[in-house]
């Protein structure tokens, strides 16, 4: 992106740099963490024939097609002073349903934040002395931002979450985990237990007077506790010998085969069930069946929607409901002592 010879005022250029910096950071982070953003493109190499759009040239780092989700960032992130908090979550798929009715509703997914990125333009409390070269300051900011984003890009590949991302991206296998993300300007603090297993890292901020651009991350130093395992899916099977069926109750007749069978078909997770005999048939249940069927009929291939909807009172115009996490105006997450990249 050529920053020379632009007739816009400096403040306008700086604002552009800041907003594009947020976009680029988000792109870099999501591109190397969320498999579902590029479900058909497992290759990590960008083709040399890919057309480079003008918007891709920002910070001289061409990342390929921007995920559609990023297009909504401009709409959502109106106030450049708000931090952009990106949570990367590892979601454990619901386990195999239990035969016990009491455990029926215990089949829930478990979400764990494995990385929390905070990208923000922060105002400086104390202004550094003016050097008299204001007109060139945005150029320096831009150059330093390029370097910062290069190091962010490299760093993404060195953190533990990257291996999990690669494992989930590289195979047609379905796993018992998937990765989702949440973007907001608000976050709940980590629990003490979580903090103990997490490390913090900050990149050296880039001066962008009257503020500075900063990037930091809190991440789980190890993900070995999460046992990624392939999930075996069963093909849908018609259960003929369910309790109350004509095959088990001779006083009832089978419905016409043209109308289909009254038994439900659903997907099971986990290991292959035992081969059917009347005394060893796949599990089936009626109470709360529809709910159970709904819960287990989540698609296995690909990730579920990579976002959540939270309704919070706010003064912004509401973003599309299916985009990002909840946000609260003017909330700044606390910034505990962090290790800087020094």
């Amino acid at each position: 992106m050529d920053m020379h010879g632009n007739s816009h005022p400096d403040s306008g250029k700086l604002e552009q740099i800041i907003s594009q910096f947020l976009l680029k950071s988000l792109h870099i982070i999501l591109d190397s963490r969320i498999p579902s953003l590029h479900p058909h493109d497992r290759s990590r190499e960008l083709s040399s024939t890919s057309r480079v759009k003008k918007s891709d040239k920002w910070f001289n780092l061409f990342l390929g097609d921007r995920p559609a989700a990023l297009d909504n960032l401009n709409f959502w992130h109106r106030n450049l002073m708000d931090p952009m908090i990106i949570d990367v979550l590892l979601v454990r798929q619901p386990s195999a349903p239990s035969t016990s009715m009491d455990n029926l509703y215990a089949v829930t997914s478990v979400e764990t934040v494995i990385e929390r990125w905070v990208v923000q333009y922060e105002s400086l409390r104390v202004m550094p002395p003016q050097t008299g070269e204001n007109s060139a300051s945005y150029k320096k900011t831009y150059k330093k931002s390029i370097i910062l984003l290069r190091s962010l890009y490299s760093h993404m590949r060195l953190l533990p979450a990257y291996r999990v991302f690669r494992q989930l991206s590289s195979s047609t296998q379905t796993y018992n985990f998937h990765i989702i993300y949440k973007v907001s300007s608000f976050c709940e603090p980590f629990s003490r237990a979580d903090e103990e297993v997490m490390k913090e890292l900050s990149f050296v901020p880039v001066e962008a007077l009257p503020g500075r651009l900063s990037v930091s991350v809190t991440y789980r130093s190890t993900l070995s506790d999460f046992k990624l395992e392939p999930v075996t899916t069963m093909t849908p099977k018609i259960i003929m010998d369910y309790v109350g069926s004509p095959t088990t109750d001779p006083h009832r007749s089978l419905p016409s085969s043209e109308k289909g069978v009254g038994a439900a078909s659903f997907l099971l997770r986990g290991k292959q069930p035992h081969v059917s005999s009347p005394f060893q048939r796949p599990h089936s249940w009626t109470s709360g069946f529809h709910k159970a069927a709904h819960m287990v009929s989540q698609p296995f291939g690909g990730s579920p929607p990579a976002y959540r909807t939270f309704r919070m009172p706010c003064d912004f115009p509401s973003p599309p409901n299916d985009i990002y996490g909840h946000r609260v105006q003017n909330y700044r997450p606390s910034t505990p002592q962090k290790a800087t990249l020094s």
Partner: protein, 211 residues
């Protein structure tokens, strides 16, 4: 102009690991100094569980491979030595003298990659005591596994060291030339013989000293 110098942590590597380790380190440095428009290329190392990034410039890739070949040839002639590869970034300055013009290289950054190339230890098959002997091959595999893991951790440390350095030191980086992908650079293989006890003797310096 000040020249920033970064001495990278020394790595103990075996001969067959040199190429991968050097590719990883040199390309990582270059990626952070290739500030023109790049299409980053993620490369997975075969020997280690590490992914590094190349800037995607074919000429640079060729230059780095040539220098690695040169270094490997040098190591074969000087086995079991500590050595350095120097990657320097410079600007060309035109010095006007009264009777001739001279283009001079002004180095603004130098990186020293420190390697100690070792040979694997040979295991003796003889035992002089009465205790049952542990299978030397099995011990060898375990040792190599431990050593490989340690090297992977150290290599990762070096990559973090590079990222830390480029983040801390930005003021000395010259303005970006939009027509070039990367700042002009050179890779030099010092013709120094450094004994394992640390004594150095330079036969011909390939690295410039900081200005």
């Amino acid at each position: 102009m000040n020249c920033e110098v970064c001495q990278l942590k020394e790595l103990e590597v075996e001969h067959f690991e040199i190429r991968e380790v050097l590719r990883c380190i040199l390309h990582t440095i270059v990626f952070h100094r290739a500030l023109g428009l790049v299409r980053p290329k993620d490369i997975d190392l075969e020997l280690f569980n590490i992914t590094y990034v190349q800037c995607g410039d074919v000429e640079l890739e060729k230059k780095i491979e040539e220098k690695i070949d040169e270094f490997i040839s040098w190591v074969e002639k000087h086995p079991n030595k500590k050595s350095q590869i120097c990657l320097s970034f410079y600007e060309m300055k035109n010095k006007h003298y009264s009777w001739f013009n001279k283009n001079e290289r002004l180095y603004w950054e130098q990186w020293f990659v420190n390697l100690h190339v070792t040979h694997p230890k040979a295991h003796s098959g003889k035992s002089h005591n009465s205790k049952p002997m542990v299978d030397p091959e099995e011990t060898g595999y375990e040792d190599r596994g431990v050593r490989r893991e340690a090297l992977e951790v150290s290599l990762r440390d070096v990559l973090f060291q590079i990222i830390k350095f480029v983040n801390e030191k930005k003021d000395h980086v010259p303005p970006i030339n939009e027509k070039a992908i990367c700042f002009p650079c050179e890779i030099t293989i010092p013709r120094s013989i450094v004994a394992s006890n640390g004594e150095k003797g330079f036969l011909g310096s390939g690295c410039k000293q900081p200005l």
